[in-house]
């Protein structure tokens, strides 16, 4: 029997407010509460709540045979708590069915995996704890921000105890190979890899309501028909997408909810397919091969690389300047500072600074609250400047004025000085 793995990504950026130069040092609040709340409320009503309801009904109607998986970023969870607690409740109901798996990821939807191993670990752990607390299950499978993956990242994730990881079935990585098998990490074969079938996933996520597409309108029969044409030996189909596909990217009027409602029935009727969660896949199937990914991949844009977040001067500068602050932030261990530190790492900020507008401009401008990447950069750097000032101020006030310690240091300085003088004298004498 083949398996279908449905996975949905849930994330909402925490948008920064218009932070002007005049605010630096005067105002330490960075977020646009109004926009964040209104967008969260709108998407909760148009997408999260109706979709969750449909999924819950489907699980009950199909006698536990319908299974899905989610990862919800910490940033999204925090916003649910503040603006839409009913969404949390509905996810809890889903969790209680036993047919829904929650995956781990970085708490703040960050790109820490590329910069700092320790930071990455601590963010993942924070996320795991949060999921355990909310949904009563400990995530066993990991998915990184925006499906960012490389052999090295996989190794790191494996060392943290995860059994499997999700990533993109990128053309330039798989080549002629099919994403419809289980793969494993090149450095540590213990870590199973689930590769996204981007054709089928994007048929729903991007093309569903595109009337210019030759397959429009997409029906479940058509969709399941494509799946049944796969090679006999293929094991599984990974359909991964943003959860906001339902009701937000694809509007209610497009019929996306009807599609979702009839999908499980259509899949189960084939008798060839069943639904499975990522953990089940990892347990059930044997990896067919090693996936070599020496260079980092992601699920974004045509290039399937990092260029949406990093690479231009603006992005590299902002990203670099942010992570320079890590040691100080951790040392100060201040609650508010840590919170901002987490939110400022969110990959969304760097996404807004992307200057490659040509092929994927539509998607970029859809998600972007700024007029231009320059505008996004200016605003972010102003916020970061204030953040730095706060760190500097707290450092000054937190240094304990310890008389004996200072005296000790003075002593050391005096010793060193004497030594230098002695050496200088030697040179002169020489």
């Amino acid at each position: 029997m083949k398996s279908v793995c449905l996975y949905f990504q849930v994330h909402q950026p925490l948008r920064l407010r218009r932070y002007r130069f005049f605010d630096i040092g005067n105002d330490h609040y960075y977020y646009d509460d109004f926009t964040n709340e209104s967008i969260m409320r709108k998407i909760a009503d148009e997408c999260y709540l109706p979709s969750n309801k449909i999924l819950l009904d489907l699980i009950k109607a199909n006698d536990q045979k319908f299974k899905v998986s989610f990862s919800i970023t910490g940033v999204a969870l925090d916003q649910f708590v503040s603006y839409a607690p009913d969404v949390i409740e509905s996810f809890k109901e889903l969790a209680a069915t036993g047919c829904v798996e929650f995956l781990a990821e970085t708490y703040s939807h960050s790109l820490a995996a590329l910069k700092n191993k320790e930071e990455f670990k601590s963010q993942v752990n924070a996320h795991v704890e949060r999921i355990k607390l909310l949904f009563g299950q400990k995530p066993k499978v990991f998915r990184n921000t925006e499906m960012v993956y490389s052999d090295e990242i996989g190794k790191m994730v494996s060392a943290m105890g995860f059994k499997a990881m999700l990533t993109e079935g990128a053309k330039h990585v798989l080549g002629w190979k099919s994403p419809n098998y289980l793969y494993c990490n090149a450095l540590n074969p213990k870590l199973k890899l689930l590769m996204r079938n981007y054709t089928l996933s994007d048929d729903i996520a991007f093309r569903f309501s595109d009337e210019g597409w030759k397959e429009w309108p997409l029906t479940t029969d058509k969709f399941v028909g494509w799946m049944s044409q796969f090679d006999e030996k293929e094991d599984l189909v990974n359909v991964f997408m943003d959860y906001e596909t339902f009701g937000e990217h694809q509007k209610k009027e497009s019929g996306i909810f009807e599609f979702l409602k009839s999908l499980p029935q259509a899949v189960l009727e084939t008798k060839q397919f069943k639904f499975a969660t990522p953990s089940e896949l990892a347990k059930e199937y044997q990896p067919i091969a090693v996936a070599h990914v020496p260079n980092v991949i992601s699920w974004a844009d045509e290039e399937r690389d990092l260029s949406a977040w990093l690479g231009n001067d603006l992005q590299d500068e902002a990203y670099g300047k942010l992570y320079e602050l890590r040691d100080d932030v951790l040392e100060l261990n201040d609650e508010r500072l840590l919170k901002d530190w987490n939110y400022l790492q969110s990959s969304d900020h760097f996404y807004y600074m992307c200057t490659k507008f040509f092929s994927d401009g539509d998607v970029h401008s859809y998600f972007n609250p700024y007029d231009s990447p320059y505008d996004a950069f200016i605003n972010y750097m102003n916020v970061l400047s204030d953040f730095k000032i706060r760190i500097a101020e707290m450092k000054v006030s937190s240094v304990p004025v310890n008389g004996t310690e200072l005296a000790k240091k003075d002593e050391i300085i005096a010793q060193c000085k004497a030594e230098i003088n002695a050496l200088k004298k030697q040179i002169v004498d020489h």
Binding site: F21, N382, L384, I389
Partner: protein, 431 residues
């Protein structure tokens, strides 16, 4: 003596230094006895300060012959239409939102409203050239309706209006050169703008230049006789500080400011490079680039490339009190203009007790003593000067006190007396 003066903008509706200068000058002229000014702008909003003069908006002038064929008007005056893409500068406010490019000029007719009046926007935008012609057309009507002894036209936008007025009344024309296209374009002039400027200068009986720098350009590049061109320096309006509310400085470091249109003429790239040099040597400083313009994005990218963006800030276009706030937060003001006919903003900075560094290629450098003057391209000298002022308090203090004293003595009344002399001489010569 009655003066018919043509300007393009008037406070509070201004977008550049031209409106400020016109206002200061007319205010000064109002203090001269026996001088009566009618100031004409393309669009009067009604809330302008009219205590010093009579303000006529060209949009309020009744045109008798409606639907005059624009082509005929243009052929009579032999002006050329300029493609809208070649505008010398845009209203920074509307930098990102070009106005509708739909021209009524397409059917070659002036659009006249029900009362027979032409409509004007009074802004720098895509229809600028069209507006200039309409303005000139209306100017001839105004010139008939308002008795005058001399005509005074400010900057190239108003030269056609001045000429049109002169053709009707036969009175002497004084044109006031606040800038030339050589300043705006850095040498590669727009030939059509140049032509309008040249025609204006040729038709003028006397030319007032805002500095010797500009006077030389007028003589050399536009082929004017030196006797015809006179330099009258600008001044600055005194500000009353009590009225302004104070702003809290949020950063501890010294603040070095660039404030102006971010265009090639203003030399923003030299400011960025100098900032990089200074930041290599000291941490105790932040740089601010305030304003907007077609080079803004390039500057943002350059600052990021140099890795100084956490110390180099952008504010976007600043209006009204924000300009004052910016000065209040500043420890040094830098104007590295590549070519600046005059440059009032350093004077405004000095009024706010901010030491200034200006380029030698600016008109204002001819009259200031207590300011650091460097060549705009000399990044090292610029960096040195910035470093010196932020590092050595004694230096900065002396610039503050002496500078304030100096700028307080620059009065528009002095400029006005000079302009009045020019009027008298011109009238005498042409009679």
């Amino acid at each position: 003596m009655k003066v018919l003066m043509f300007g393009w903008e008037f406070p509070p509706h201004i977008s550049g230094g031209l409106g400020t200068a016109c206002y200061g000058l007319t205010k000064g002229l109002s203090k001269v006895d026996d001088l009566d000014i009618t100031f004409v702008v393309p669009k009067a909003y009604g809330d302008e300060d009219q205590s010093k003069m009579q303000l006529v908006g060209a949009n309020g002038v009744h045109i008798k012959q409606v639907q005059e064929h624009i082509q005929r008007f243009k052929s009579k005056h032999t002006y050329l239409e300029v493609e809208s893409a070649l505008i010398p500068y845009n209203d920074p406010d509307e930098y990102y939102s070009f106005r509708d490019s739909e021209l009524y000029g397409k059917n070659k007719l002036f659009k006249v409203n029900k009362e027979g009046k032409l409509e004007f926007t009074g802004k720098y935008g895509a229809n600028l050239i069209d507006e200039i012609y309409k303005y000139a057309y209306v100017a001839s009507t105004i010139s008939m309706d308002h008795e005058h002894d001399v005509i005074h036209a400010h900057d190239w936008l108003c030269y056609p209006a001045g000429i049109a007025a002169k053709e009707v009344s036969g009175k002497p024309l004084v044109i006031h050169v606040h800038a030339t296209d050589f300043d705006r374009s850095g040498g590669s002039v727009n030939p059509k703008v140049f032509e309008i400027e040249k025609r204006g200068m040729d038709a003028a009986d006397k030319i007032i230049a805002v500095s010797n720098l500009t006077r030389n350009i007028v003589i050399e590049k536009y082929g004017q006789s030196p006797d015809k061109v006179e330099t009258v320096y600008n001044a600055v309006e005194p500000v009353s500080f009590e009225e302004k509310k104070a702003i809290k400085k949020g950063v501890k470091e010294k603040v070095v400011t660039f404030l102006g249109r971010i265009t090639m003429q203003k030399g923003p790239e030299y400011f960025v490079e100098a900032a990089y040099q200074v930041l290599k040597r000291t941490d105790n400083v932040r740089f601010v680039m305030a304003g907007s313009g077609d080079m803004l994005e390039k500057m943002v990218a350059r600052a990021a490339q140099l890795g100084i963006s956490d110390r180099f800030h952008f504010t976007g276009f600043l209006k009204g009190d924000d300009v004052f706030h910016m000065f209040k937060l500043s420890d040094v003001y830098v104007m590295p203009s590549v070519s600046e006919p005059f440059g009032i903003s350093p004077l405004e900075a000095m009024q706010s007790n901010v030491p200034v560094i200006i380029s030698k290629q600016s008109g204002v450098s001819e009259i200031l003593t207590h300011a650091v003057k460097v060549d705009y391209w000399d990044i090292d000298a610029l960096a040195d000067a910035i470093y010196g002022i932020i590092k050595y308090d004694s230096l900065s203090n002396i610039f503050k006190s002496k500078g304030k004293e100096e700028v307080d003595n620059l009065k528009w009344t002095n400029a006005a007396i000079h302009v009045h002399q020019v009027y008298s001489n011109t009238i005498k010569e042409t009679v």
